[in-house]
Assembly symmetry: C2
Homo-oligomer: 127 residues x 2
């Protein structure tokens, strides 16, 4: 990210400026997740989560992969500028020890224990 325009830098910091996006990112650093799983984790509407994912992706912090009807997101890792990796590490170092992040990690285990299809059913056809 060195030598970038300030606006590009603030695109990243803005993306990291929302607690729910940080929570999502911390989860995505642990595991690749589909939107439904993030919805379950954050307790937000699918449309809201989708928007958050778009912001994180626009900032270059996450990547996505489409598989059938599902879209999987993960923290940026492949062929990514060194600076992005450093940012992700920074976020992780700063937040992964927090109470909220630890609780999210615990919830994430439960979410991962069922398959996405089953999960989406439980969400009352919200997505």
């Amino acid at each position: 990210m060195a030598n970038r325009k300030i606006d590009e830098f603030t695109a990243v910091t803005k993306a990291l400026g929302d607690p729910n996006r940080v929570r999502a990112l911390l989860a995505l650093l642990q595991k690749e997740l589909c939107v439904c799983q993030v919805v379950e984790l954050l307790g937000l509407a699918p449309s809201t989560v989708s928007k958050h994912m778009a912001v994180l992706k626009q900032a270059g912090l996450v990547e996505s992969r489409k598989e059938g009807r599902w879209v999987y997101y993960r923290a940026a890792a492949d062929e990514v500028p060194e600076e992005v990796k450093e940012v992700l590490e920074w976020v992780s170092n700063c937040c992964s020890g927090s109470r909220e992040a630890q609780e999210d990690s615990r919830n994430l285990e439960g979410i991962l224990s069922m398959d996405p299809e089953q999960l989406c059913q439980l969400q009352g056809n919200r997505c």
Copy 2:
């Protein structure tokens, strides 16, 4: 900043989410400045700059020092958590090479060449 609550983390990232605040911070990393000088650099109203300084200070990124009627701000440095220093270094590494930052640096030289008192006069008694 390790193990902080996510809200404390986003206080920092939010503070870094505005281009004018980043520009101010980059200047403050180079030199301690009074509000009038930042006003001159950014071309914003004194009240606006004052608010920006408050946000940066709240986030722990800058410190201030009062000297008579003047308030001087500088990038946090003394007895500051290691993590804050790393953030400041990150901002500097990311942005100080940008065109905007370089232009600001050039303008800053001119601003520093006159004394603050003189500068405030030129600002048409706006502050």
